[in-house]
């Protein structure tokens, strides 16, 4: 009897899931197409994940939900693992497979984490499906510079480009960061990273560029970011005479602790030690954890792989305004790029409209869209006119530098645009 009960519960659960699927009410002359998105929607990633989802929704809403006679539907997937709460390759693979297995899926927007993209790109590539990322910055996904052996070819089993990114890769940001450090007078740099793909990758590029332009690297250490005590590592940096700590990492991998304890160890601007980081740290959560006092005492600066929203012009400025109006809050770091990613997908469908009508199956439709996107040139985007190069990378290389300043908000400080970096 007990077994029957369990079976009953299981059956009910399956039934509920199936019934919960979206119902299709809208009528469209050429049927329906789906855009899949995939990034983490759990834990510390909830704000950013929601912002990115809003971005894609906004792009679809701008088009009225219909492109060239096709109704568009957005399917949001979460690639964080139930087991760890962080992005997980198995879940990302499942998401990508779900997308390519859907006969109405036309494009895939994602991921947030470069490691996840490594898993999904080959899957979408085999299905001829365009994948557009608003956030991945690991160089090897698209180019050989700053990549591991075999990259990016291993992500393109069919041999063609299907993966597009509209933000500059870390090889550019890491290098720009090193040049900025030199400009600002740093001489001896101690690098810390979180031993993750993004953090270590960008730290290694920073390391290489800094050495090339004549800066002295006095250390490059991976830390165990789960330890609340980073004093010994910072003491090591102090002992090495560092005047700049560069940390490759993201909001939840230890940067707040590092900044906070730099202050405790007297590693502050007043004693000629400063902090610099990449855009993974351009989040208010970092300031909250580190406290404004410590962030300002360490003269915290951050590089950002784009222009600040307030400095955007033309399309960028109007997108920023519209986003704020629509969702009545500031966009998160990658929300506007998600708008742009959504627009690129829609643009691709629009340009491929004639082929879509002729296509025999979904694979041909996807391929038409993929090719149309690859051929997008001089697109009027957030940061001005740009094109995709032959690797699927944006030709934009504009970056900006931020610093922390006092502000009249609950935290007590904020990131403020300081300069444009080339």
């Amino acid at each position: 009897m007990r077994r029957l009960k369990w079976l009953g519960i299981a059956g009910m659960a399956v039934l509920v899931t199936m019934l919960a699927g979206p119902a299709d009410a809208q009528q469209c002359p050429k049927g329906k197409l789906r855009i899949y998105t995939s990034w983490p929607m759990q834990g510390a990633m909830i704000p950013e994940g929601t912002g990115m989802k809003n971005g894609v929704d906004m792009a679809v809403a701008e088009a009225g939900g219909v492109v060239a006679g096709h109704c568009l539907e957005v399917v949001n997937l979460d690639d964080a693992s139930p087991q760890t709460g962080k992005w997980d390759g198995a879940v990302e693979a499942e998401n990508a497979n779900r997308a390519v297995g859907d006969a109405l899926a036309i494009a895939y927007i994602g991921t947030y984490n470069s490691g996840a993209a490594k898993v999904s790109i080959p899957i979408t590539n085999r299905a001829h499906m365009a994948q557009i990322t608003p956030a991945n910055t690991y160089p090897g996904l698209t180019k050989t510079k700053g990549a591991a052996p075999g990259e990016p070819g291993i992500y393109r089993p069919m041999g063609f480009v299907n993966y597009f990114r509209i933000v500059p890769a870390d090889d550019i940001q890491g290098a720009v960061g090193a040049k900025w450090a030199k400009q600002r007078g740093a001489k001896k740099i101690f690098i810390i990273h979180d031993q993750e793909l993004y953090g270590k990758g960008i730290a290694d590029v920073f390391d290489a560029t800094a050495k090339k332009i004549g800066l002295q690297i006095v250390g490059n250490e991976g830390i165990d970011f789960k330890q609340p005590d980073q004093k010994p590592v910072l003491t090591k940096a102090r002992a090495a005479g560092a005047d700049l700590i560069y940390m490759g990492g993201v909001v939840d991998t230890g940067a707040p602790i590092v900044i906070r304890q730099m202050k405790d160890l007297g590693m502050v601007a007043a004693r000629n030690v400063r902090f610099l980081g990449p855009d993974g740290l351009l989040e208010e959560e970092v300031l909250k954890g580190a406290t404004c006092d410590a962030a300002m005492q360490t003269d915290m600066h951050i590089t950002f792989a784009s222009l600040p929203f307030e400095k955007l012009k033309g399309i960028g400025a109007s997108t920023y305004e519209n986003y704020k109006k629509k969702y009545s809050k500031e966009p998160t770091a990658y929300a506007l790029y998600s708008v742009e990613a959504g627009r690129i997908a829609i643009e691709g469908i629009k340009r491929a409209a004639p082929q879509l009508d002729k296509a025999k199956d979904i694979k041909e439709k996807r391929d038409a869209v993929r090719q149309a996107i690859l051929n997008i040139k001089n697109y009027d985007g957030l940061n001005g006119k740009w094109s995709f190069d032959e690797n699927g990378d944006s030709t934009l290389e504009t970056m900006s530098g931020f610093k922390v300043v006092k502000a009249d908000n609950p935290i007590g400080c904020k990131f403020e645009f300081e300069t444009i970096l080339e």
Partner: protein, 659 residues
């Protein structure tokens, strides 16, 4: 097999076969998720060997998962330039290598650590579980510089934080492993079914019983001839090779692995699956795995949906934003705790009747009345007679079977046994008496190898026993019982006997799974022997009862029968009549006498019942404060003033005179 069971199995097979097609027809796209879940269930089954069968709490099982995945990944990927990559056979060759590498590492990690017991072992495995991901992460970028000379510069052994990507997929002509989850589903289904079949067979074999005996009571198992180190190591290695299997499927299916996928949480989730379903139960582990996956993927999300809906309709703002998926780990923790508190045997585990602790008078009276009949000489199993006799004839009668000289053992400066001499002639019953704390049990432990003596010699049939592990001593022909009964409580009566026969059987892992005729025959013979032995001691009807459900007197007899199953020539009985009523005591005394008379067994007996020990012993040794104060025939010992002073007491003398 009944018709209903056949029908049930057929339905199950049909459902498993039809599932992906139904899924496809309904367009629900669950095959990927289900296949991933099956990989986790396979891992949980491997963990079950370690935790459920052998009772070794492994908190770092994910490390073996990682090792399997990385072996597959590194062998079958261009990242480190593996020569095995890129052939049609790459995957199929890498799979067994991954399983073997995992098993070997299981042995390498296990060998030094398995000497550690219980809780400590759990912590060691946990430490390994923490070290392995760190090592994998760090070994992607090794630079060693000594005195300015770069010995190793940026050596990559594991892919570091990049992980390994891509990993080659399996190839079979015409099967689309590249794009379709269905072949994966069937591949893992077949492998999983084969694993289940193998595990099932292992459980019901000499090995499975040894694991369970270790789980129940390691010391007792050791003293019944089971080598605990070897047995535990085997469990570790087999568990590891299963996770190696699962890990390599995981890597190849995903085509990419990263070091972050193998952390402590994964080990705990697998433990949850095992505990929820029922440790040691294959069906339970599968059920547990399915429930947890279902809970995780569906129920939490749907519950969130429902709770939010309820919150909206009831106007409770707090409920409308609840996200129960964030509570996942809380629920896992709660699940572990509640299972242990209220249903430790798991959902599918055998419901165990509580051991009878208090027996009311009526029942006790009935038990006394129903006390087993006197064992009769003609019911002695012939095989036992033969085996013991063969041991005797080989050496001829007359010489001492055990000769202990100047045995000394002290604990923290306190001499528990000092300079004790004790000789047991063949076919003799020797009593060992003395006040509590005199060192009798310590002497037993020294003879059976549980505590190595500090000095002195112990010869069994002229060969030294010093330095041998208890199980080796059992194999030589010395068996014992314990002062406080140490049966394998959660095993059946017959299984207890079969563990005793362990050291006289030969079946190996391969034999247990494949079951060639020799193994089948051996197993049948062992069971036949066991049943005959149970009939001899009067427990034939309780053969399939759990040992813990037996009444006290029966447990005592079972313990002696278990010792007899090891085919001993010398039997060491530690207070066998303790806690018995006069009737039972009398029966047992007869029984011991019978063993010597009919089988020619030698017996060393610790006993406080004077009438028993004086009645059947040929010679008696008296210990006090660890030293031998007297030795002789019962009559001599009884009159020895030292013995009366230290142990028997003045009253005894008077009593003796009256008698």
């Amino acid at each position: 097999m009944t018709a209903r069971r056949v029908l049930g199995s057929a339905l199950l097979v049909a459902a498993l076969f039809a599932y992906p097609f139904v899924d496809h027809a309904l367009q629900v796209h669950t095959v990927h998720a289900v296949t991933d879940a099956m990989i986790y269930v396979m891992l949980a089954l491997g963990l079950n060997i370690v935790v459920g069968y052998a009772g070794l709490l492994d908190l770092g099982y994910a490390a073996f998962f990682a090792i399997g995945a990385y072996t597959m990944g590194l062998l079958n990927s261009p990242v480190l330039g593996s020569p095995l990559y890129g052939h049609w056979w790459s995957f199929w060759v890498a799979i067994p290598i991954a399983a073997v590498v995992s098993a070997l590492l299981g042995v390498v990690i296990g060998a030094p650590t398995l000497r550690v017991r219980g809780d400590y072992l759990a912590i060691i495995t946990l430490a390994f579980g923490e070290i392995i991901p760190v090592a994998i992460r760090n070994m992607g970028d090794i630079s060693i510089e000594v005195g300015g000379v770069k010995l190793v510069n940026r050596l990559n052994l594991t892919g570091g934080e990049n992980g390994v990507n891509p990993v080659g997929r399996p190839y079979l002509p015409g099967v689309p492993f590249e794009t379709d989850p269905v072949p994966w589903y069937f591949l893992i289904l077949i492998v999983g079914a084969a694993s289940l079949w193998a595990m099932n067979r292992m459980r019901d074999s000499r090995l499975g019983r040894a694991w369970m005996a270790i789980r129940e009571d390691e010391t007792a198992a050791d003293c019944m001839g089971v080598d605990p180190i070897k047995t535990k190591l085997l469990a570790f290695a087999l568990g590891a090779s299963f996770s190696g299997f699962a890990g390599s499927f995981y890597a190849a299916k995903l085509q990419a692995i990263t070091p972050g996928a193998f952390e402590f949480n994964v080990s705990i989730m697998l433990l949850c699956m095992v505990v929820l379903g029922g440790m040691g139960s294959l069906k339970g582990v599968i059920l547990g795995g399915m429930l947890i996956t279902l809970f995780d993927r569906l129920i939490l999300a749907q519950m969130t949906f429902l709770v939010r809906g309820a919150g909206r309709s009831l106007g409770i703002a707090a409920l409308t934003t609840v996200d129960l998926t964030l509570w996942r780990w809380f629920f896992f923790g709660l699940g572990l705790t509640l299972m242990m508190l209220f249903k430790p045997e798991g959902l599918a585990g055998k419901r165990v009747r509580a051991a009878r602790v208090e027996v009311d008078d009526a029942e006790e009276a009935a038990a006394v009345a129903a006390v087993a009949p006197l064992p009769r000489a003609e019911s002695i199993p012939p095989w036992l007679r033969d085996r013991v006799a063969s041991g005797l004839s080989r050496d001829g009668a007359g010489g001492p079977i055990l000769e202990a000289r100047q045995v000394k053992k002290s604990f923290g400066g306190l001499a528990a046994v000092s300079q004790v001499d004790l000789v047991i002639p063949e076919r003799a019953i020797v009593g060992l008496i003395g006040p509590n704390g005199a060192g009798k049990t310590t002497f037993f432990n020294a003879v059976t190898g549980l505590v190595p003596p500090d000095s002195g010699s112990i010869l069994f049939r002229g060969q030294s026993l010093i330095g041998l592990r208890p199980n080796a001593i059992v194999a030589r022909g010395v068996a014992r019982t314990f002062q406080s009964i140490r049966l394998f409580q959660n095993m059946t009566v017959l299984e207890n006997i079969l563990v005793g026969e362990h050291c006289r059987m030969r079946a190996s892992v391969g034999g247990a799974i494949v079951r060639p005729p020799s193994v089948v025959e051996e197993e049948a013979r062992a069971r036949e022997h066991g049943r005959a032995l149970l009939a001899f001691v009067g427990l034939a009807d309780q053969a399939d009862e759990l040992a813990k459900n037996l009444p006290y007197g029966d447990q005592r007899r079972l313990e002696i029968a278990r010792a007899l199953a090891t085919e001993p020539q010398l039997l060491l009985l530690d207070e066998p009549t303790a806690g018995m009523n006069p009737r039972e005591t009398e029966t047992l005394t007869e029984f011991i006498g019978l063993l010597r008379r009919e089988l020619g067994l030698s017996v060393l007996l610790i006993e406080h019942h004077m009438e028993v020990v004086m009645g059947i012993s040929d010679r008696i040794t008296v210990l006090d404060y660890g030293s031998r104060i007297a030795e002789g025939t019962p009559a001599e010992v009884q009159r020895n003033p030292k013995v009366i002073e230290a142990y028997l007491g003045k009253g005894y003398e008077a009593e003796l005179a009256r008698a």
